[in-house]
């Protein structure tokens, strides 16, 4: 069994230390193992059982004949190194998955992203570098962000390159067929090693925009790349005190970055997460940059808040920028809950609520209002990629209702919303299933937002399987029209991209 192979691979790396006696499992590892039997949802936070997968299973239900392609997904997968367990969900080393389907079968392929950090630590059998929020004993100096890049957040398929993305360093190029790691990817000599965040925005014509943050330098880097992967322009905007922006939005004229007041205070003697301080009395600063000229920008203000993810943005003829986001009052989910998960503790619920925002560039004013009730928490908003950076009518997102009876603390279902009809449809997964990000996959040849499917993975911790489910985007609440189940569970991941 491949699980054994992975354990042996790790064990041989540990053999030398074993001669001198192995250190006891750390407190997080012990607490997690103790909690798992009583809290089976923690299966989603176990270290991945194998370093690679290649499994083909039959699909069930009415799989749409026109739906074929590959769903690539990324996420933290290796949470333990020998007896050391990471202290935060986001520290886990990235694993890239390919779910390939042809209407009859689902093939699941996966491989660890062989980053420098993962490779060196696998050989050493112990952690060498400090993690995002995991201190390690006797850490090696971190000379650049790429030394600790775990490529674990999202994936981008652009100009025929498959890139595994982290947040603060280079993309990692992967072979799209074999999922072998090819190395860090550089768009050009002048941009080599610069931070490239995990949520680039790609316009329908392939034009790509991204940002990156340099906390110590107090700079936001901005990227403009054409459909062929050539750097059109890059620039920097001084933005101290830096926050930890995870995502951003783009309209046909502007780039919008929210700097929530989780202020960078210096990393000396702490982890990257702990180098930040929540300043709840400070505003969220909103940077609006001219897409044609990165040196032309303005700042707006919103109340203190925490945002991981945005849906989309567009701009009207009156110069008002509209966008939406899953908004939380504080970053407590990241600062507290995602640490607790690693020691088997769910913590208190920290729901985020969907908001819509308006930035009136002529009046110089930014405003926000809740889109749904507080009892309807949302995350992972996505859109039909054909309306990216343009006016969209529909949102697809995961949700959790305050009345949920789920046997886990994560998101519980998938929803669609139409602005024009103000109609919210939702499907709730069974109480023992945790949905991961669900994407809108257009029906080939259809008009934007008119016809398509919602495709996403989910962890069924009662049946101990990871599933892939397909919904008709027009009839979401009828439940999955087709699905496929793998004979194993996978660690809960983050973001994916569908490639037809």
């Amino acid at each position: 069994m491949q699980r054994r192979a992975f354990l042996q691979q790790t064990a041989s790396a540990l053999a030398l230390t074993s001669l001198f006696g192995r250190a006891a499992a750390d407190a997080y590892q012990q607490a997690f193992k103790a909690a798992l039997p009583q809290a089976p949802w923690l299966a989603g936070l176990e270290s991945v059982a194998q370093p690679a997968y290649d499994t083909t299973v039959a699909v069930s239900g009415r799989w749409p004949a026109a739906l074929s392609g590959t769903l690539y997904r990324n996420g933290p997968a290796r949470h333990d190194i020998g007896n050391f367990r990471y202290k935060h969900w986001f520290d886990g080393d990235g694993m890239l998955h390919a779910y390939r389907f042809d209407g009859k079968t689902l093939r699941h392929q996966a491989k660890m992203v062989m980053t420098t950090k993962y490779t060196e630590e696998l050989a050493a059998g112990r952690p060498l570098y400090p993690g995002f929020a995991s201190p390690v004993p006797n850490p090696a100096p971190v000379s650049s962000a790429d030394a600790v890049n775990v490529a674990n957040i999202s994936v981008l398929h652009h100009h025929d390159k498959l890139l595994a993305l982290w947040e603060a360093g280079s993309p990692w190029e992967m072979n799209a067929d074999t999922l072998d790691t090819l190395g860090t990817y550089s768009f050009s000599a002048d941009t080599d090693g610069a931070p490239f965040s995990a949520h680039p925005r790609v316009e329908p014509d392939g034009t790509l925009w991204n940002f990156g943050y340099l906390s110590a330098a107090g700079l936001l880097a901005l990227w403009h790349i054409d459909a062929q992967g050539r750097v059109v322009k890059v620039g920097t905007v001084p933005a101290a005190p830096m926050g930890m922006p995870h995502d951003f939005v783009v309209t046909d004229r502007h780039i919008v970055v929210l700097l929530c007041p989780l202020h960078y205070r210096g990393i000396e003697g702490s982890t990257f997460l702990d180098a930040h301080e929540w300043a709840g009395d400070a505003p969220t600063r909103v940077l609006v940059v001219d897409k044609n000229d990165f040196s032309s920008y303005r700042w707006f203000e919103l109340p203190a808040q925490w945002v991981f993810h945005f849906g989309n943005a567009w701009e009207d003829s009156q110069g008002v920028i509209h966008f939406d986001a899953a908004r939380a009052p504080t970053p407590t989910l990241m600062q507290d809950n995602f640490r607790r998960y690693m020691r088997g503790d769910a913590g208190e619920e920290r729901p985020s609520q969907h908001y819509s925002y308006r930035i009136d560039t002529r009046q110089g004013k930014a405003t926000e209002s809740a889109l749904f009730e507080q009892s309807f928490a949302t995350e992972f908003p996505v859109i039909d990629p054909r309306v990216s950076c343009r006016r969209n009518d529909r949102l697809v997102m995961l949700h959790r209702k305050a009345t949920s009876k789920a046997a886990h603390p994560m998101l519980t279902g998938v929803s669609t919303y139409s602005y024009s009809t103000d109609r919210l449809e939702s499907y709730d997964y069974p109480a023992t299933v945790i949905p991961e990000e669900h994407l809108y996959v257009p029906r080939p040849g259809s008009a934007p937002e008119s016809d398509g499917w919602i495709v996403g993975t989910a962890l069924d911790f009662a049946r101990l399987e990871t599933q892939l489910n397909v919904f008709d985007a027009q009839h979401l609440q009828d439940g999955p029209i087709a699905s496929a189940a793998l004979p194993y569970t996978l660690p809960l991941g983050l973001h994916g991209k569908f490639v037809a």
């Binding site: 100096p141 000379s143 080599d192 090693g193 620039g235 920097t236």
Partner: protein, 154 residues
């Protein structure tokens, strides 16, 4: 290579250039030999740009620039390792920084966000955390004759 030119500010040697050696009033009795080997030089192209100085030339006080480094040396790059010895400095604590100016433009080339694109290194092979290392991590006691090696890397 030996560089013994302690009182001349700019001297061209056969193999290298001392860009500046700030006059050190070190008597013969105080002179120490400081030997530095640069390792992992990746090519023969360009130059090795080396600067040696004390704490005041590496760490600035609040709101001020660091002092100039008293000894700055340019050597031609040679694949592998390059060594030199200087007795231009009085005994003390020093740090050494070096970069391989591969394209010979006299600058440490950086990408658009300021990260080095050419190989660099510090004494003690200190790498710093998301930036240059601190003097405390790079300092070398040169109270007597001392030899060190520094690895340059990107």
């Amino acid at each position: 290579m030996r560089i013994a030119n302690r009182f001349r500010p700019l001297i061209t040697l056969v193999y290298g250039t001392v860009v500046s050696a700030v006059a050190m009033l070190s008597s013969a009795a105080q002179a120490v030999e400081f030997s530095i080997t640069i390792e992992n030089v990746s090519s023969d192209s360009g130059k090795l740009m080396i600067a040696v100085g004390g704490k005041e030339s590496f760490e600035n006080a609040e709101g001020s620039e660091p002092q100039p480094k008293p000894l700055q040396i340019i050597l031609p790059a040679r694949t592998g390792s390059v060594s030199f010895t200087t007795d231009a400095l009085p005994p003390g604590e020093y740090a050494v920084q070096v970069f391989h100016d591969v394209n010979g433009n006299g600058e440490l080339d950086a990408n658009f966000v300021g990260m080095p694109k050419e190989p660099w290194g510090f004494s003690n092979n200190a790498r710093g955390n998301f930036g240059p290392p601190k003097f405390a991590d790079t300092k070398v006691d040169v109270s007597t004759d001392t030899a060190i090696s520094i690895r340059v890397d990107k």
